[in-house]
Structure formats: structure tokens, C-alpha cells
Symmetry: C2
Subunit: 300 residues, 2 copies
């Protein structure tokens, strides 16, 4: 059986009743599992993780998009995370017995159906992108919901599906296919956002830091702290431990300590074994030393 | 399907041709996987890990014991690890869809067959033990091959299967059933065995240290170092990171540093997630955040 991970992000993380209405259409469906639902109040955003047969996901995903379009109005949305739509982003990730180009095909099918059913303009991104300048999600989303009203009229930013105008309340959505990434946040013992921003700038590839790291800053108001919020887009090349230790090292410049960290969504086993190797000085360690690795379903 | 882990240890870790002759009968068998074969020259011992249906393992295990009895002579065996037999110990560990008492039944069946086929006396240990004083493997093995010649005549130490006399070249074997344990060794940057011994004494439960930790000292002559060699018998109560950090802390008393560590055999996923939580200050982390955990075969 083909297995993908699908990680829709939608723009509601405070009203948990609304969150539940949106995800309820994904519960107890045949062919895939709803692995996690992670609402974040500061981000005002929820990350959902599905695992299973992409064919089985199609209709429930459309139902989820429909619920989000119905219940979220971006004109009244504030949060720490950049966003351009009620459903902001929806990537397919190949996990088992499936190729990237099949995930691209699923992204295109879903994107087309989203426009046809909900008149929501769709951008294809990462491996599904239709042009080089539309690969990176942050480039597509730049300007966010508010700026997208005019940006989408520029022929460079016409959507892949739909007319060059945003949905009045639900904005636009990015649908794509990509390799697994790790969404990783590190909490700092300070409320000064400029410190998190300075560290993010040092860490991220776009400003000269570590390759395969995207980083920004966010305030966690309910805790009175800030965090460096990151995506590790290739965990085989840059591990969690390295990012953690580098942020700790840079934070020391400001007399700030690291309070801890959090992984949003799922983490591949290999990313754990790399960090264990580092901290425990393990030799000859790998995912194959983990008992559960050998209990995974394999094709006959 | 019932899944057990079976971890036979036999007393040859230097002659790799002999090791291969002994394990070859376990390769490519239906119903179970040969996960690892780990010969250790200093210990002069090999740890084998099997995973799968215990029923399918029975005949291949007997063939392995037969090969070890044929090829290993304990009268000419030296090594850093205590041992009493050609096959020294053979535990069954319940993993999936199987109860401990069924593992005990498999241990008894195999023990009886080992005696009947090879005239090798068998002690049942841990959950399969026939008396309280025979639960702990170290108590049974005390005196090792050389001391067992007379010890076995004592009615307290008559074997569970066989006459009260050792096999002239293959000694005796302990067969049992137990919960998963982690075999974990930490290398010290010194060749002074007394330092590893002093640290082992501080760490292990029997001398007043951490509960669920067994520890001893071993010389790794080919590297000119010593190691603290441990079993973590309940990794849910005492984690790898805690043992590692405590050994590091104690080693500092002697001006000795920790070079690294190694896990022998398999490690349960949960033991990794605990250590990751500690080192990265992770919140809400567990095995369920690991993608592969959700790909494990479950019963329908």
C-alpha cells in the first residue's frame, strides 16, 4: 500500500471548538490515520498530520478545506505565524511505496478540486511548483493575506488553479509535495523578540547560516517568552542536535538561556538516532538498532 | 502473529569463522529475522538478536546450540565477560501479541529439548526460574564454567533439566524469559580497570547505586581502555541518559573522561525518546511523535 504523510496547516489555533469542527471530517476515516492535531494559540494556527493512502485522503481533505473556508475569515485573523489563507498550506510527503512524482500528481488533483469546489485560488509549491520562483512557500506567501489581494494580479503570481483574485474571506492556499521536514521550535528565556530574530538570522541559510535551515522569531505571549521557530528541510544533512546547540551558543551572547524545545508534527526515526549518537557518543548506531524499526510493515 | 525477541549469547567472539558457522543456521529462516550478530573480541562472546515467531525459532535455536556445543570448548576459553557455557544464556522477550507466561513456556520447552538432544544441563532463570535464588542470572553463573563443576552438585544448584554435572566442554546454559533490557557500555579514557570497577560499584543497584542497573568493569585491550558494562533492566524507570551522565560525573573524580558508549543488541524506541527529551528539553515528546511508530504492523 502507498503511504504518504499529509500536513495541512489552517489558520485557527485559539477557538478549539472551530478547530474540532474542521478536523472532525478527518477522524475515523478508512485508509489513513489522523496522527495529530496541534493547535497553537500564539500562532493562531493548527498543524494536522495524516498518514496513509493518499487516494483515501482526497475527499476528506476537500471536506476539511470546505469547513475551513466556511468557518475562518482571514479579515479578522491575527497570529504570530505568517499566513495567506484559511487553509494556508497542504503538502504531501512520500513515506512508503510511493514516488515524489505521484505525490506531485496528488497535489495537482487536490489543488484543481479545491478551486472547482470552493473558488479558492491554489498555488502549487516545492516539488509541485510550476516555476522556479514559486518553489519556496515563503516567497509565495510573502505579503500574506493582506498583500495577496494585489500580488495575485501580477502575472508572476497568478495562481496555478483559479482566477487572479483571492477568496474574500479564505485568501489562497499552497498545495504541494515535498520531502519530510522537521518543524522545530526553541524557547528562549526572554521576552525580547529582537533576540530571537537575531538568532534566527544567524542560524538560517538565507542569511548565511546553516544550510537546510529556515528560521524566524515568534512571541509566545501566554508564557512571556520568545522562540526561534524553524524548519529543518534536510535532517540528514543538518540534525536537530546541531540546531539546538547552535541556538544555545548564540543565545549565550545575549545572556539568554534556552528553556527547551518542541517538535511540531512528526519526526523521522533517523533524526532521533543522529542526535542520540551525538549526545551519548554512540558508535555504530542507526535506526536499525531500534527494535520497532523491524516491526514496520514491509511490502511482501 | 506472536513476536518475541530472542537474544542468545555464546562464548566465541574472536574466531569469526566459528561465529559464522554457529549463526549460519539462523540465517534466512522463515518466521523470524536475524537482526544482529555482534561478536566482541575482548569479551570473547557474541550476542545474537532474533525477532519473530517463537514457534519458528525452536528448531533453528536447537541447531545453533548444537553447533556451539560442537565448536566451543570452555576449557580453552578466556574473555572479559563472565560465562559458564558454550551457549551462555538464551532469553525470550515478549514484544507483540504474546504474554510473559507464553515466553516462559517456550523457555521450558527449549530447555528440555537442549538437555535431551545435547546432554547440556539447563538452568531456568528470570521469569522462568524455579526458585527465588535462581532468578538472577549472575547468581546462577557465579563461579563460572570452572566453578560450576562442583557448584552444580549442590542441591541448591541442581539444573532444571539434566543431571547435576556439567557438559565436559560446553558447561551449562541458562534459558529464560524476561522483559526487554538495554545492554549498554561506556568507554573510559583510561586503561585502569580499577577505575571502571569503582564507577560500576557506584552506579549499580547491588552496591547501593541506581535501581535497575547492573554494572561491571571490562578491559578493552585492543583499544587500551576500560569500560563500564551495564544492563538497564527497566529502562522506563532509569534511562540511558541518566546512566551516561552519572558515569561521566563519577569519572570526573578520577580525572577520567568518557570517550563514548555503545548499545549491544536492540534498543526500544521509548528509551530513545526519553533521552531526546532530556537533552533537547523537549515538551510533550513520546514514541508517538516518531513517524515510523505509526507504520508498525498491528493486529487487525
Amino acid at each position: 500500500m502507498k503511504v504518504v504523510q499529509c500536513v495541512p496547516n489552517f489558520s485557527e489555533g485559539r477557538n478549539l471548538e472551530t478547530v474540532e469542527k474542521i478536523v472532525s471530517v478527518l477522524r475515523n476515516q478508512p485508509g489513513f490515520q489522523l496522527l495529530s492535531v496541534e493547535p497553537d494559540a500564539s500562532y493562531n494556527r493548527t498543524v494536522v498530520t495524516l498518514l496513509g493512502d493518499p487516494e483515501a485522503m482526497m475527499e476528506p481533505l476537500l471536506a476539511m478545506v470546505g469547513k475551513a473556508v466556511e468557518l475562518i475569515d482571514l479579515n479578522h485573523h491575527q497570529g504570530e505565524h505568517p499566513r495567506m489563507g484559511a487553509v494556508d498550506v497542504l503538502p504531501f510527503v512520500p513515506i512508503q511505496n510511493i514516488k515524489m512524482k505521484e505525490c506531485v500528481a496528488y497535489a495537482k488533483r487536490l489543488g484543481q478540486a479545491i478551486y472547482e469546489r470552493f473558488s479558492l485560488p491554489v498555488f502549487l509549491y516545492e516539488e509541485a511548483a510550476s516555476a522556479e520562483h514559486r518553489v519556496n512557500l515563503a516567497d509565495i506567501r510573502k505579503g500574506e493575506f493582506e498583500g495577496m489581494k494585489t500580488k495575485i494580479q501580477d502575472h508572476l503570481w497568478h495562481p496555478d488553479f483559479g482566477k487572479p483574485e483571492i477568496h474574500p474571506t479564505a485568501g489562497a492556499v499552497a498545495v504541494g509535495a515535498r520531502m519530510p521536514l522537521i518543524a522545530y521550535n526553541i524557547n528562549l528565556n526572554t521576552d525580547k523578540k529582537e533576540i530571537a530574530q537575531a538568532i534566527a538570522k544567524t542560524i538560517r541559510h538565507s542569511s548565511g547560516g546553516l544550510r537546510y535551515i529556515k528560521a524566524g522569531a515568534a512571541e509566545i505571549k501566554e508564557k512571556g517568552i520568545v522562540q526561534v521557530t524553524m524548519n529543518i528541510t534536510n535532517y540528514q544533512k543538518n540534525s536537530i542536535y546541531r540546531v539546538f546547540e547552535m541556538v544555545k551558543m548564540e543565545a549565550a551572547r545575549y545572556g539568554v538561556s534556552v528553556l527547551g524545545s518542541e517538535i511540531i508534527g512528526m519526526v523521522p526515526l533517523e533524526a532521533l538516532t543522529q542526535s542520540m549518537e551525538y549526545y551519548l557518543g554512540l558508535t555504530d548506531f542507526s535506526a536499525e538498532k531500534v527494535l520497532e524499526y523491524h516491526l514496520i510493515k514491509k511490502d511482501e
